[in-house]
Symmetry: C2
Subunit: 230 residues, 2 copies
């Protein structure tokens, strides 16, 4: 583990309130690993032996069933994943793979559980983090059940524009096939829907997104803080 990793990780909301000795003991058991692009480091159904924290890179959470696969989330630093399985000492419900070369910290679940029983600030932080994860999935599910494909796409693209700093033009952070899967549709469907949104103030050229008329696109998306976040 690099020396300045420790300092940076210490500042994460999850750890910033911890007692120093608890933090030290937790980090003693933890280690950091580099994964190449495209590596599946977690398979759904496996026992949750580690909590993962993404330090650098990009990770996809996905689920499989009966030969199908779907993207559940895309993670960026700094964030934890597979926290719930770790806590319940239950099998992972999702698999995880790197989308690019990534640096990931792994904390053994047993250490994690032992230490958050001692350090109440850490327990508080975990509660907060977990509640956030829960709300994120609920939002995603609401979008899937309440919106049509076109609406989900429009909402996603406007949301990304906002995250990029309210730009009118930006580049997609993920491949289109993955985006399609995340939004609950096929790649073909996404491709056609993007074209059809050209009448609604959108232009997409390769991975470049141009909001030619954000307001008009907003009429399609009908953004809602209870789905799309603040």
């Amino acid at each position: 583990m690099r020396p300045n990793d420790l300092a940076e990780i210490r500042l994460l909301p999850l750890f910033s309130g911890m007692q120093q000795d608890c933090y030290d003991r937790l980090m003693l058991a933890a280690y950091v690993q580099n994964f190449p692009k495209g590596l599946t480091m977690i398979r759904q159904g496996d026992p949750a032996d580690f909590l993962f924290i993404l330090l650098e890179g990009q990770v996809e959470l996905f689920a499989s069933w009966d030969g199908h696969e779907t993207t559940m989330a895309v993670l960026r630093p700094m964030g934890t994943f597979i926290l719930a399985a770790t806590i319940r000492d239950a099998p992972y419900l999702m698999s995880a793979r790197t989308l690019e070369r990534s640096r990931i910290m792994m904390i053994p679940s047993t250490n994690l559980r032992a230490i958050f029983q001692e350090d109440s600030a850490f327990a508080m932080a975990i509660i907060h983090e977990l509640a956030g994860c829960y709300r994120a999935v609920v939002r995603h599910t609401k979008g899937l059940k309440l919106r049509t494909s076109r609406e989900r796409i429009a909402a996603y693209l406007l949301r990304q524009a906002h995250l990029a700093g309210d730009l009118r033009s930006y580049f997609l952070p993920v491949e289109k096939r993955l985006l399609a899967s995340y939004l609950g549709m096929t790649a073909e469907n996404l491709s056609r829907a993007l074209k059809s949104l050209e009448d609604d103030g959108l232009k997409v050229d390769g991975s470049r997104v141009i909001l030619t008329d954000p307001e008009k696109l907003g009429l399609v998306a009908k953004l809602d803080v209870l789905i799309d976040g603040g």
Copy 2:
């Protein structure tokens, strides 16, 4: 609040490990209320002033957007709901209404947050509960994204049969329109799909479900512990 309520609530996993004085203070701030059938006691977007605990009856969690509505979950005693919003002091993402006359305990969020900072056993229990809620939504979402309508229906009906004690015949616990919404389809679609499943070992007469050939239905459902639970 009835005297034996307190005793029963004390045994809930969420409270059973609490220190007595913390429990007493929490209950002092809490109160129990009876709601008639069909009453919406929580509206999405409202501030999360209370944690709710369902003591008796049946409650639906649902979400709305742009005039549409969808059922997110159906709750039965004894269970908490809206825990995540309470913890984050954030607006509810879902609404809640009673499906039948229900008795519900309400704990002010501020008291809840204050007390789980003091009582680490309570904090542990909340972490555990939250992680369970998270995993439940993930499962639901996996089902929605990975399975077809017929598969979701078959899985749901087999799951209910199992919960009822592996019976070959039982009654639906909810109305079909609500079930359709929960499973992410229209009532008409559910009606037709149920009929089409008669070729796959299922018979439905009104709200009575008969598994004429559970194995054959199982081939449609392809039950999976990572979606349907154990």
